[in-house]
Amino acid sequence: MFAVLHLFLPVDSVIYGRLPCIPASVARLVGKSGPNWQHCSVSSTSFPVSSLRMDTLLRRVEEAEDGVDSLQVAGSLGLDHQAVVGAVKSLIALGEVISADLRSSKHWELTEEGKEIAEQGSHEARVFGSIPDEGLAQSELMKLSFGKVGFSKAMSNKWIKVDKTHEGGARVFRAVVDQVREKLLQVQGGAEKLEEKEKSELKKRKLLSEVTVKSYWISKGSSFSTSITKQETELTTEMIASGSWKEKTFKPYNFEALGVAPDSGHLHPLLKVRTQFRQIFLEMGFSEMPTNNFVESSFWNFDSLFQPQQHPARDQHDTFFISDPAQAKGFPEEYLERVRKVHSEGGYGSQGYKYDWKIEEAQKNLLRTHTTAVSARMLYKLAQQEEFKPVKYFSIDRVFRNETLDATHLAEFHQIEGVVADRGLTLGDLMGILHQFFNKLGPYHTRSHTPCCPSKYQFLNLSIGLKKWVELGNSGVFRPEMLLPMGLPEDVTVIAWGLSLERPTMIKYGINNIRELVGHKVNLQMVYDSPICRLDS
C-alpha cells in the first residue's frame, strides 16, 4: 500500500504529522493483527510504520459526529500518522465506505538545536544561568562547553557585565533576564503568541522551523459500515455455484482501456469491395462471365472489338505480349474473315479503316488489356445461338497494362465490366442502367464525356465526397462494326460500361498509394484494421 502511495507522493514533499515515538509493544499490538493483504507492500518500505486495523479507524469515524482528522486519530491512538494514512487509503479503495478529504495545515516546530535550547536555555542564557549572584571568574566560565558563544552573545545582549578590576581576575556578573528561552518555551507549549517578527528572528537563528502537515478529514461515506470485506476482482464459477457473489463486492472495471484484440483472420479490403460489386450486379440480374483466362489473343482483345492494328493501345509500350506461347490458333474462320473485311474494306455501313489487316497481328498472344476481350467471346457465342436471347453479363477480374507505374497505376488492376445486349436498346437505357448501378454505390453525379476508344462512348462519374470530378470509368454502345460481323441481329444493341475496382476502393478506404493496397508491399496492419465494406454508406 505504501509503496504504491509513494509513487504519487514523494516522501520529502509532504510530511505526515510526526508524533512522539511510540512504544514498540503498542505498535505490535495494533499492527500485527491487521489483515495481511493490507500490509503486503509495507514490509518492503524502508521506514517501519506501525499499521492500523481498518475497523479501528471505522469505529472512530462512527463515533465522531461529522468526521475525524487523521492526525488526531494518530495522536489519540499513539500511532505514526503514516499508519493512519495507510488505513485511509485502503478504505478509499473499497469504494464509498468513507470519504476522505486531503487537507493541510501549517505550524511551527523547533529544530534540534532549538529543542536543546528550549530545554536547557540558549548558550548565552546558560552562560547567564551559570553565573551565581556573586559572579564567576571569567576563566572558569570559558571552560564550560557553551562558554565562548554564550559569553559573547550575553555580552552583546548586555545581560552580563565583566568586572576586570575584581581581585582574583576578571569576574562576570548577571545584568538582565533570558527572553529567548521564554519565547521558545511559549512556542513549544503550543501557544502561538509570538509576533511574526520574533518568529522570523528565531527562524533565522534556526531555532524555529515552519512545518506543513497534511491530514485527512474522515467522515462517513454513502455506504458506511464498520465491518468491511475484501473486494473481488472477478466473478468465479465457485461464486456462482455457492451464491457467494451475492455478499461480495467487486472491484470496479476501468472502461477507459481497450479490450484484447481477437485472434482472427481478415479478408483483403480490395476483395471485400469486389464482393460488394458482385453483389450489386447479382441484385440487378447480371450473370457472371468466365474471366479466368489472363492470356488472350490480339484477335479477341483488339480485332474483334474493331480496334485497328496500328492503334497505340496495341503498342509494345502499352501491352504485355507473350513470347511463349507466342501465337493463338483455332479462330472461327468465317468470323475471322468478316473481321478482316470490316477492318480493311469496311462494310455494315462503315468505311472501315482501309489498311492491310494481317492475321499475324491477330494471332499475337498477350495478357488481356481489358475484360472486354471476354465480353467479345461471350457476344460471339451469343450470336451463334439459333434464336437471340437478351443477356446481362458482368465480370470483375484482372487486366494488364505495360504502363509506367506510379502511386495510382500498376501493371495490373481489376476491371469491373457490365454488358447488356437486347433488341432496340438506346442511349437513354445506357444512362438509366448506369444511374441504377451507381446509385447502389451511394449518391452520385455523372457527367458524360467524349469517345476515346473506337468501340465505345466514354463517361465520367463523380464520386461524392471529392471536390474534383474523378474519372471512374467509361461506358458506351458497341459499334456495329464489332457486333454485326459476329452475326448478331441488326436490331440488337449492346451497351457496356467498365471501371477499375482499385479506384473506388482507394477512395472508400482513403488509401493514396496503390502499393499499400495491392501486391506484396501491402500494409498488413491496414488489412487487419479495415472495416467491413458497405458501398452505399
Binding site: 485472434d263 482472427s264 483472420g265 481478415h266 479478408l267 483483403h268 458482385r278 450486379f281 440480374g285 450473370s287 457472371e288 474471366t291 479466368n292 483466362n293 489472363f294 492470356v295 489473343s297 496500328q310 497505340p312 504485355f320 505480349f321 507473350i322 511463349d324 506461347p325 493463338a328 490458333k329 462503315s350 489498311y355 498472344n365 495478357l367 437478351p390 446481362k392 484482372r398 505495360n402 501493371a411 495490373e412 437486347d422 442511349l427 437513354g428 437505357d429 444512362m431 438509366g432 442502367i433 441504377q436 457527367r447 458524360s448 464525356h449 467524349t450 476515346c452 473506337p454 462512348y457 465520367l460 459499334r479 456495329p480 462494326e481 501486391g519 506484396h520 501491402v522 498488413l524 488489412v527
Partner: protein
C-alpha cells in the same frame, strides 16, 4: 489520350472571349474535352527539374487539355479554338482546294524504288501564309503531336514542311543507297552522307528513336527538287536548304508513309489547321467527302434540330426532305467519322449526354454466378474465419521468383513468358501463389508473429489444348510463419478446408496426404495431397534456402493446392 498544351491568353484571343477557369472547364466538358491541368512553364520546370532551373522560365498560363485519341483535328490551338467556336454557334469554315495563280499545280513524282521501304507520298501547298512566332511554334508542335499519335512515331507517316520559294518543282520521291545520299541536314553546317547521318544521330536524344524505321533497309527514302536539292530524308530529317522560317510565305507539306489512308489524314490535318493563316483563308488542296445519314439517334427530336446539332459539331447538315434523312457533309478534318454511328455520337454529344432522358430497359434475365468464383467467394470467408489473413498479389513476377528462389528448374514451371517486360518484375505470369505470399511476409516482418496468410487466385500454365496455348488455374495457397515451423497448423488448415469442401479423410474415397519429394520443401517435411487418389497439391516445411532467398529468417510451412477439382 494525347494532351495538348496551349497558352490560355492566346486561346482566349482566338476564341474572341475570356472565360474563368471553371467556365472553360465546363465548356471543354460539354464539347467533349477535358481540361486536365492549369499550369505555367515555370511551374512545370520547377516540378520536373527543381526550382533553380525554373528561374527565368515563362509565367504565361498554360491550359493542358486532354483530347480524344482519334480527334487529330484538336491537336493544336487552331483546331481547339475552331471547334469550340463552331460549337458556340459560329459558322464552320468550309475548306477548299484552289489552283495557284500561276495555273499549274506543283507535282510530286513517286518512283518505284520507294516500294521496298516507304511506298506512299502525298503533298500539298499552303500559299501566301503569314507566320508569327506563336503560329510558327504551333505549326511545329502540331507536326510533333501528329508524329507521336496517328503517325505511330513516324512509322506510319512522316511529315516534312518546306519553304517552297527556296526549291523548284517538280519534286521526286525516290529511294537510294545510303552512301549515295548526301546533303546538309537541318541545323547542321556541313554535308553528310546518309550513312554518316545514321551514326551521327545514334546519340541524338530525339532522332535516335526513329532510326530503326529505315536502318536495315538497303535503300533510304529521299525527296529531291528539280535541281537535285534534298528536301528531306524521311522519316529521319529534313534538309537545311528548304527549312521554313517566320518569313516563309509558301509552305510545301509532304507526307511519306507506309499507310496511304493515314498519310492523307495527316496531310489533311496539317493543311486544314494552318490554311487559316493563308491570305485566302481555309484554302489548300484536297477534296471534301459527303455522305447521307439515316436513323437519327434521338428519335424524339426533329430532323431540323438534329441537323442543327450536327452543324454545331463542324458537320454541316440539312434535312433532305425524304423521311427523317439528313445530308451530312464531313470535312477533311474529321477522319474519325467512318460510320453513321459516329455522326449520331456527335449529335448526342451536342445534345448533351446528361440531357438524354434516362430509361430502364425491360430486359428480363436471371443472374448466375460463375461456379468457380462462387466457390472462391465462399471459401475465402471461411479461411479468414479459420484465422488466416487474405493477401492479394500480382499475377506477374520475375522468372527467378518461380525458379531459383523456389529451388525449381525453369522447364518444370510451364510458365507463360512475357515478350516485352519493362522490368524483371514482369517476366512471367506466376505459376504458383507461394512467392507472392513469401514476399508479403518479407514486406511485413515488423508485424507481430505468427503471420498466417492465404490467397485464392489464379496462376497461368501453358496448355496446348487451349486456343491461346495457356490457361488459368485457380489455386489456394496458405503460409504459416513463426519461430517454429508449425506444420501441424498448415495441416490443420488443410483438414479444415477439406471439411468445408465436404471431403472426408479417407485413402482412395476421400483425401489423404503422403510423403513426397519436392525441392522447395525441407527434406522429409513435404507431403502430397490426394483427393480420391488424384494429386491436388502439396504442403510442408519450406527449405531453409527458400526461406533465405525470400529474405526471411524463421521457419515457415506452406500449403498450395488446386481448387478446380472441387467444383
Amino acid at each position: 489520350m494525347p494532351t495538348v498544351s496551349v497558352k490560355r491568353d492566346l486561346l482566349f484571343q482566338a476564341l474572341g472571349k475570356t472565360y474563368t477557369d471553371e467556365e472553360f472547364d465546363e465548356l471543354c466538358f460539354e464539347f467533349g474535352l477535358e481540361l486536365d491541368e492549369i499550369t505555367t512553364e515555370r511551374e512545370q520546370i520547377s516540378r520536373e527539374q527543381g526550382d533553380c532551373k525554373a528561374s527565368g522560365a515563362s509565367e504565361v498560363v498554360l491550359y493542358k487539355i486532354d483530347v480524344p485519341a482519334n480527334r487529330y483535328d484538336l491537336l493544336c490551338l487552331e483546331g481547339i479554338a475552331r471547334g469550340l467556336q463552331v460549337f458556340k454557334d459560329k459558322c464552320a469554315p468550309r475548306y477548299r482546294r484552289v489552283s495557284p495563280a500561276s495555273g499549274e499545280p506543283q507535282r510530286l513524282l513517286v518512283t518505284s524504288e520507294t516500294a521496298a521501304v516507304r511506298p506512299h507520298a502525298v503533298a500539298a501547298v499552303l500559299r501566301d501564309i503569314t507566320f508569327t512566332q506563336e503560329r510558327y511554334d504551333s505549326f511545329i508542335e502540331l507536326q510533333e503531336k501528329l508524329h507521336q499519335n496517328v503517325c505511330r512515331k513516324r512509322t506510319l507517316v512522316a511529315i516534312g514542311t518546306h519553304d517552297l520559294d527556296t526549291v523548284c518543282g517538280p519534286f521526286t520521291y525516290t529511294a537510294k543507297l545510303p552512301a549515295d545520299i548526301h546533303f546538309r541536314p537541318l541545323n547542321q553546317t556541313q554535308e553528310f552522307t546518309a550513312v554518316e547521318l545514321m551514326s551521327l544521330y545514334k546519340t541524338d536524344s530525339h532522332l535516335r528513336h526513329y532510326l530503326h524505321i529505315i536502318e536495315d533497309k538497303p535503300a533510304y527514302p529521299v525527296i529531291y527538287d528539280s535541281n537535285g536539292v534534298v528536301l528531306s530524308m524521311p522519316p529521319i530529317i529534313n534538309g537545311d536548304h528548304s527549312k521554313i522560317s517566320l518569313k516563309t510565305k509558301n509552305v510545301f507539306v509532304e507526307c511519306t508513309a507506309t499507310d496511304l489512308t493515314k498519310a492523307k489524314i495527316v496531310l489533311d490535318m496539317m493543311v486544314t489547321m494552318f490554311s487559316e493563316y493563308c491570305a485566302e483563308p481555309f484554302t489548300y488542296t484536297t477534296t471534301t467527302l459527303t455522305q447521307p445519314v439515316s436513323s437519327p439517334p434521338l428519335q424524339s427530336e426533329s430532323t431540323e434540330r438534329i441537323a442543327g446539332l450536327l452543324t454545331k459539331m463542324c458537320l454541316r447538315s440539312q434535312p433532305t426532305g425524304a423521311g427523317d434523312q439528313i445530308q451530312v457533309e464531313i470535312p477533311p478534318t474529321r477522319s474519325d467519322v467512318i460510320h453513321a454511328c459516329d455522326i449520331m455520337e456527335d449529335a448526342a454529344m451536342a445534345y448533351g449526354f446528361n440531357n438524354i432522358p434516362r430509361t430502364t430497359p425491360g430486359t428480363y434475365t436471371v443472374a448466375n454466378q460463375y461456379p468457380l468464383n462462387k466457390l472462391t467467394e465462399l471459401l475465402r470467408q471461411d479461411l479468414a474465419a479459420a484465422g488466416f489473413t487474405e493477401a492479394l498479389n500480382f499475377a506477374l513476377c520475375s522468372q527467378e521468383d518461380i525458379t531459383d528462389k523456389l529451388r525449381k528448374k525453369l522447364f518444370e514451371t510451364r510458365a507463360a513468358h512475357i515478350a516485352n517486360p519493362k522490368t524483371a518484375e514482369f517476366q512471367v505470369a506466376r505459376t504458383t501463389l507461394l512467392p507472392g505470399l513469401l514476399k508479403t511476409i518479407a514486406a511485413n516482418r515488423k508485424m507481430p508473429l505468427p503471420l498466417k496468410l492465404f490467397e485464392i487466385s489464379d496462376v497461368v500454365l501453358k496448355d496446348e489444348t487451349k486456343d491461346v496455348g495457356a490457361r488459368n488455374s485457380r489455386r489456394l495457397c496458405a503460409v504459416f510463419y513463426h519461430r517454429s515451423p508449425g506444420f501441424e497448423v498448415i495441416h490443420g488448415l488443410l483438414d479444415r478446408a477439406m471439411q468445408l469442401l465436404e471431403v472426408a479423410p479417407a485413402r482412395g474415397t476421400g483425401y489423404h496426404i503422403q510423403a513426397a519429394d519436392d525441392s522447395t520443401f525441407f527434406p522429409g517435411r513435404c507431403a502430397e495431397v490426394f483427393v480420391c487418389g488424384v494429386s491436388v497439391g502439396r504442403l510442408g516445411v519450406l527449405h531453409p534456402d527458400v526461406i533465405q532467398r525470400f529474405e526471411l529468417t524463421m521457419p515457415c510451412s506452406a500449403l498450395e493446392m488446386d481448387l478446380e477439382p472441387f467444383l
